[in-house]
């Protein structure tokens, strides 16, 4: 092959490549011109048949042509690929405002959310969870908690008794769990919380016959009311914010003495007075006090040596306050319109 025919080869190749309008044609042209059976490889292979003085130049020319064609083809391929991708991306465009492929999502009950929040805060303060039976002995529910038969406080807690099961009842509070926990731990120091379901013969907008409480108990040597106050205040600040106004008020519970109630500044009106706080600017959050010596003794602690504090609150009430629920019965209907509100809204 003469040098002139390399030029001819080049002309034909460029013409063919120019004529290739899509990626397939370009790839076909590559195979035709640069492939193992293509004219350039052919020519290179036949160099050895040429006179020695021509071999070098021809070889150089052919290699140059191959590199040139390679570059052109690559560039053509690149731009065509880019063009293809561009077109594909336009074709594949979707209406992003169409709904997503829906997933059915579930979620926790607001009461469990409130309970989890209370438990989280109290565990952080150092309390451990204990649980106890919902069917409780009359003794642990009342007598052991300093509420003897004729005590007026029994009126405060209208009780469900069980048919043919004398001495048993549905616990009216989680306090018997405190006695159980004390009996299991005495005389070691104790910090426990008892969440659970309790029962009272009551049924209206704010009272449900079945509801939930959480109680806390700390027993040890040298536990005083200042410890109670700090614990409750820490608890309330964690729950309602560091700046929430707090106050303790004297109160009465048969199983504690002295007894106090904790009020927090109404989170709805910030103390201005509203329907939720009945205009007082304060909301009652929990009852508390120093464990009555009788109860300590029932729990196996010597009241001469040990003291303790206890507190308790209703989880329904906490949930109602936190989520603005106005009828306690909504919590027990299983109404999905109600239950699905406590996460992001449904699509």
């Amino acid at each position: 092959m003469a040098a002139g025919s390399v030029g001819e080869l080049r002309r034909q190749a460029l013409e063919a490549i120019d004529a290739a309008m899509d990626l397939e044609a370009v790839q076909a042209a590559r195979t035709t011109w640069l492939g193992r059976k293509g004219p350039i490889v052919d020519a290179l292979r036949s160099i050895k048949d040429r006179p020695p003085e021509e071999r070098r130049d021809l070889g150089l020319e052919l290699n140059r042509l191959r590199d040139e064609l390679e570059a052109i083809l690559s560039e053509r391929e690149g731009s065509l690929e880019e063009e293809n991708l561009r077109r594909r991306l336009v074709d594949e465009r979707v209406d992003v405002t169409l709904p997503g492929r829906p997933r059915a999502i579930g979620g926790p009950h607001p009461l469990r959310m409130a309970e989890a929040e209370l438990v989280r805060v109290l565990r952080k303060i150092g309390f451990s969870i204990v649980e106890g039976p919902e069917v409780e002995s009359e003794y642990l529910n009342f007598e052991a908690l300093n509420i003897p038969e004729d005590h007026p406080a029994r009126e405060m807690q209208d009780t469900f008794y069980l048919r043919d099961l004398p001495g048993l009842l549905l616990r009216t509070h989680t306090s018997p769990v405190q006695v159980r926990a004390m009996r299991a731990s005495a005389p070691n120091p104790l910090r426990v919380i008892c969440p659970g379901r309790v029962y009272r013969r009551d049924d209206d907008v704010t009272h449900s016959p079945v509801f939930h409480q959480i109680e806390g108990l700390a027993v040890g040597e040298g536990i005083g009311m200042h410890h109670l106050k700090a614990t409750l205040y820490e608890f309330a600040r964690q729950l309602f914010g560091a700046d929430v106004p707090l106050r303790l008020r004297p109160s009465y519970f048969p199983f504690t003495e002295p007894s106090t109630e904790l009020d927090v500044g109404c989170p709805f009106c910030h103390g201005q007075g509203c329907r939720v706080c009945k205009g007082s600017g304060w909301i009652e959050v929990l009852g508390s006090g120093m464990v009555h010596p009788h109860v300590l003794r029932e729990g196996g602690y010597d009241p001469e040596r040990f003291t303790g504090f206890a507190f308790g609150l209703g989880i329904e009430r906490t949930a109602m306050l936190r989520y603005g629920i106005d009828d306690v019965r909504l919590l027990y209907l299983g109404d999905l319109r109600f239950l699905t509100q406590f996460q992001g809204s449904e699509a």
């Binding site: 169409l98 709904p99 492929r101 829906p102 059915a104 579930g106 979620g107 009950h109 009461l111 469990r112 303060i125 150092g126 451990s128 204990v130 649980e131 919902e134 069917v135 004729d150 007026p152 406080a153 405060m156 469900f160 008794y161 069980l162 048919r163 099961l165 549905l170 070691n188 120091p189 104790l190 379901r197 029962y199 449900s208 016959p209 700390a218 040890g220 040298g222 005083g224 009311m225 200042h226 614990t231 205040y233 820490e234 303790l248 008020r249 004297p250 109160s251 009465y252 048969p254 002295p258 007894s259 009945k278 010596p293 003291t307 919590l331 027990y332 299983g334 999905l336 319109r337 239950l339």
Partner: protein, 781 residues
């Protein structure tokens, strides 16, 4: 309890504004739950005198009024205004508490310049038929509100049992207030000084039930109405003014806390006796009900039988009427527990009973008689000298010895002994002593008996604001029961799969449990209603109720779960088992662009499998079960490692219909404790080093052969070579012969030791087919 501002002020002399008093009371533990003002909004009415009264029509009267500074004419429909009566007059422009503003009106040609007012219209009573007649000495022309002491703040105080003993009266509340304000405590009435007992008033008592019984004889000397301020206060306190002598006893009870009972003396027969009721004994109480008594109830009897249910209510026989001119007045102490028990049993929460049930100071009956004797002349009555006394005044309890260190330690407030004494003295206690405090409560505090009671009084006196804040020292954590965390984790697993946690009552209608084939084992003895009578034996009852509720408002996508306890009976004990349940009905997704799959047995099964995997439960086995509440062909027991975790299935169509559910419902219920035991430890295995081979296999078997059996045989035949099998088709119908089905599986074969060859796979398949043929009658399709 309703507490009147004007009454407190009368006792204490002066007081801060009502709102502040409310705050102070709440801070003392006497929680003020509400504050309203009696007669609020009354403006412009005055005192006037009916100078002349003449009939206008058969039912209307024309009243000419002397207003002190002039004349006015009113028309009234009330018939109780006579000439010379002093009456409340609302002139035109007067505003009434109900918001009305009066204007002149015309009746039968007579212009009425305003109107005369009833107690109801003024806001101080219920009487709206008659005009309120004012005393003759009421100054004409004076502003009516001023004259009546209106508006008067009324605090609605919630009394805890700790205050019910000494603050169920105005004097008690006033004392608390005085202590808080640093005022001198009001003394209250002293003991009545009386002559010797009158022999004609013989009284016998049972000291165990009634330690002290005083009887006084009262006689009427003049007919006078109950003073207006007493009527007004009774009304504000929630009691209805009745007759002067009855009103006075109620007034003294509200003021100092001692209930008193007046008997019409002429109706009593012979001597009075206080005794325990005989079982079945009956008494007709003032409210017209016949009460059947039990032993332990206390009755007041004369020689003709019971005349009062002691401390609670009188009988009709000895009721005081307008004609009664002589009264036998009882002031007594009754055993609090007896009164409390009778009050609860009979549902008779009279004002008297609520006071007796909490116990009264021993000297209070004597003080109440003293107060009565002071007030009697106001209504024209007199107390005769000579009081019948039965029993003895209980001795005052001894002083309480308290270690001041104890008080300091318990409260965590650094209070010196002297500070503690001062605090107690402010509340009326005597306190002193060198090393120990010797504390004597005032007569009205019979509830303070122990050192911790004293500590509480010290705290109340110094105020809870004095408490410092100090976190308690840490204590070792104790092991928590696994139930709490597992319950939440189990719920979270189902929630992640689309289920919504729905709590339901653990009390339900036993019939509903019956219809689910899980009859009640434990029932309440005193249910609120039949639909809350039984303790649940299954969580499904509540969840199915929720399904019905949601279907009722048109929701078709229902997935609910619950964790909670069910109750079974074991002899004299009750066993509580913690369960996890799920129900699924309708479609997964609401109607829309994407396919809404109708759920079936396998939807719930898949969810349960996924949830149990999330809970790290080991491999599961499902076996057909026989639960009459479930579809006989669509239910299974769920096992893991031989443990029975629970059951799932489709609700039996007839149960479904019975429960009023109009679509199939999938249900499942599991024992959390078993789930806990079936959990396997998380443990890493080395990832496979050699490639896996995939082979598909389709076999034809009898319809009766279960996939579970097939899989079991397959696994046994291939051993550890088979790392996974996936069923991808179940087919019946031509060309598969009748009574047969074709199952198509994809097998993943892998060796931990070497790369498997095609020959290995062929051999494995051959082995599998042989075993399947042998044990399941399977043929290669």
């Amino acid at each position: 309890m309703q507490v009147l501002y004007s009454w407190l002020r009368e006792i204490l002399g002066e007081l801060p504004l009502a709102e502040e008093v409310a705050n102070i009371l709440t801070g003392l533990g006497l929680e003020v739950e509400g504050l309203h003002r009696q007669g609020e909004g009354l403006r412009g009415a005055i005192v006037a005198k009916a100078a002349d009264v003449s009939p206008l029509t058969a039912r209307l009267w024309r009243v000419e009024l002397d207003t002190g500074s002039g004349r006015a004419v009113c028309v009234t429909g009330a018939s109780n205004v006579g000439r010379g009566a002093v009456v409340p007059y609302a002139q035109p422009g007067t505003r009434l508490p109900d918001g009305r503003t009066l204007e002149p009106a015309e009746f039968h040609g007579q212009v009425s310049e305003g109107m005369l007012l009833s107690a109801d219209e003024i806001g101080i009573g219920a009487d709206h038929d008659g005009i309120l007649i004012l005393p003759q000495d009421a100054p004409l022309g004076q502003d009516l509100a001023t004259y009546l002491g209106l508006p008067d703040a009324v605090f609605d105080v919630s009394l805890t049992p700790s205050f019910a003993q000494h603050c169920q009266n105005m004097l008690g509340v006033a004392r608390e207030l005085a202590a808080a304000l640093g005022m001198i405590l009001p003394a209250g009435p002293g003991r009545l000084r009386s002559g010797d007992g009158d022999a004609s008033l013989a009284v016998r008592t049972d000291p165990a039930l009634c330690p002290l019984y005083l009887g006084a004889r009262l006689v009427r000397e003049d007919e006078r109405p109950t003073p207006l301020y007493i009527q007004r206060r009774l009304w504000a306190a929630g009691m209805r003014p009745v007759l002067p002598i009855v009103d006075l006893t109620n007034y003294v009870m509200l003021e100092i806390g001692q209930p008193l009972h007046p008997f019409a003396d002429d109706r009593l027969v012979g001597a009075i006796q206080v005794r325990s009721a005989r079982p079945g004994e009956q008494i007709e109480t003032l409210d017209g009900l016949t009460r059947v008594l039990e032993s332990g109830d206390i009755v007041i009897c004369d020689e003709a039988g019971p005349v009062a249910l002691a401390g609670m209510m009188g009988s009709q026989r000895a009721e005081v009427t307008e004609e009664t001119a002589e009264v036998f007045l009882e002031a007594a102490l009754f055993k609090p527990a007896s009164i409390g028990a009778a009050m609860r049993r009979l549902g008779l929460r009279s004002e008297a009973a609520q006071r007796f049930a909490h116990g009264l100071p021993g000297s209070l009956p004597w003080r109440a008689l003293q107060r009565m004797s002071e007030l009697l002349p106001e209504v024209g009555w007199r107390m005769l000298p000579g009081i019948a006394v039965a029993g003895e005044e209980p001795a005052a309890p001894p002083a309480i010895n308290v270690d001041p260190h104890y008080v300091r330690r318990l409260l965590g407030i650094d209070l010196s002994q002297e500070e503690q004494c001062d605090a107690l003295r402010r509340l009326g206690f005597e306190a002193g002593g060198d090393r120990e405090l010797a504390v004597t409560p005032p007569y009205w505090r019979i509830d303070v008996m122990e050192p911790w009671d004293v500590a509480e009084e010290v705290l109340r006196s110094v105020g809870v604001d004095r408490l410092p804040e100090e976190l308690p020292p840490p204590a070792p954590r104790i092991a928590e029961p696994p139930s709490y965390a597992l319950r939440l984790e189990a719920l979270a697993a189902l929630e992640a799969l689309g289920y919504r946690d729905a709590l339901s009552y653990s009390l339900c209608d036993p019939k509903e449990l019956e219809s689910l084939g899980r009859p009640a084992e434990v029932e309440t003895a005193n249910p609120l209603s039949v639909d809350m009578q039984a303790l649940r034996t299954t969580l499904l009852q509540g969840l199915l109720k929720a399904v019905r509720h949601n279907l009722a408002y048109g929701r078709q996508e229902i997935a609910l779960c619950e964790a909670g306890r069910v109750f079974a009976r074991d002899g004299d004990a009750v066993v509580e088992t913690e369960m996890l349940a799920a129900v699924l009905a309708g479609t997964r997704l609401p109607f829309g662009r994407y396919e809404a799959e109708r759920v079936d047995f396998f939807s719930l099964k898949g969810d349960i499998e996924a949830a149990l995997r999330l809970l790290r439960v080991g491999a599961l086995d499902f076996a057909p079960s026989q639960d009459p509440a479930l579809h006989p062909g669509r239910q299974a027991d769920v096992f893991s490692g031989g443990r029975h975790l629970g059951r799932l299935g489709e609700l039996h169509p007839s149960v479904q219909r019975h429960l009023g559910l109009d679509l199939p419902v999938m249900v499942g219920e599991f024992r959390l404790a078993e789930i806990n035991l079936a959990q396997v430890a998380a443990r890493a295995k080395s990832t496979p080093r050699f490639p896996a081979l995939i082979r598909d296999l389709a076999v034809v078997v009898d319809q009766a052969v279960t996939y579970g059996r097939l899989r079991q045989v397959l696994r046994a035949a291939l051993g550890e070579l088979l790392v996974a099998e996936t069923l991808f088709d179940v087919f019946t119908g031509s060309p598969v012969p009748d009574g047969k089905k074709s199952l198509a599986l994809r097998l993943t074969l892998q060796s931990p030791e070497r790369t498997l060859t095609d020959a290995d796979a062929e051999a494995a398949i051959a082995r599998a087919l042989q075993a399947l043929g042998e044990h399941c009658g399977a043929q290669l399709r």
